[in-house]
């Protein structure tokens, strides 16, 4: 009875509260809950394009280092190149795992990008840092970067088609 009395005396407050809640729900359903095409593209850029592009730049920089190394062939520099590429590989593999579990996954596309072949060349370079192993390493990186860019292009096309 007391509650009914209170409600009767505060009808305006109750109406305002109900309308506010309904307003929030409608706003969320129609605007906040849906991400615009532009936001989707921004998200794709931030989550996929930029990190992949950064890693591809890191691989390219490593290629330049190997090219410089081929002219002088210092053993210490070979160790530096090895350690640097190990770090880039690790970052790439981590990103593959993350992307594969994200909304930008394309079936087993990202996970199919194996670094194994490149790593084997890196290992050969580490064990015998010779002219031929240096050149094979460069070829391995170049080919890997091409594969990644090809897959990224497919991913971009598919994503663009979905939005």
């Amino acid at each position: 009875m007391a509650l009914l009395d209170w409600a009767t005396q505060n009808v305006e407050t109750i109406v305002v509260a109900v309308l506010t809640v309904v307003g929030f729900i409608l706003q969320y359903k129609h605007f906040e809950g849906k991400i615009s095409d532009r936001d989707q593209r921004d998200l794709f850029m931030r989550k996929v394009e930029e990190p992949v592009a950064q890693l591809m730049r890191d691989y390219s920089a490593a290629v330049s280092e190997v090219q410089v190394w081929l002219k002088r062939m210092s053993p210490e520099k070979a160790e530096d190149i090895f350690s640097r590429l190990v770090q880039i590989n690790r970052a790439f593999n981590l990103m593959i795992n993350t992307l594969n579990q994200s909304k930008f996954d394309l079936g087993d596309g990202w996970v199919a990008l194996e670094t194994e072949r490149l790593e084997e060349r890196l290992e050969a370079f580490d064990q015998a840092p010779s002219d031929s192993n240096g050149r094979l390493l460069i070829k391995g990186i170049d080919r890997f970067v091409d594969d990644v860019n090809l897959h990224l292009g497919r991913c971009r096309q598919r994503f663009a088609a979905d939005t």
Partner: protein, 111 residues
């Protein structure tokens, strides 16, 4: 006191290799350490590595643990193996390889 089983990766690197890589080598190393037998007999198997080992790649981990995942699943693998004696970066490498293995298993189930 009973000795805990320990897989010492120095036996693979022989202090000459700074990276363990390759699916095939992972499978061969599994055989070398008799993991199938150990997993059947032991509760917990420790893994250790030499200081100069810089990286263990996902391809190696996949070859090394594919049979374990098939037999026991990811939770069983976590119960059987203790990576805590490894440097943090190598623990992460194993974790990353196991995650990749799980992704491959999930992808092959979907196909």
């Amino acid at each position: 006191m009973r000795r805990m089983p320990n897989i010492d990766l120095t036996e693979l690197t022989k202090k000459k290799v700074r990276m363990l890589t390759g699916h095939v080598r992972g499978v061969e190393s599994r055989g070398y350490f008799h993991l199938d037998d150990l997993e059947g007999k032991e509760d917990v198997i420790f893994i250790t590595a030499p200081d100069d080992l810089e990286a263990i790649t996902p391809s190696f981990v996949q070859g090394f643990f594919a049979a374990t995942i098939r037999k026991f699943g990811a939770a069983g693998l976590a119960r059987h193996y203790d990576f805590s004696k490894l440097p943090t970066v190598l623990q992460q490498d194993f974790q990353m390889g196991i995650e990749r293995l799980k992704l491959h298993v999930a992808a092959s189930k979907q196909a």
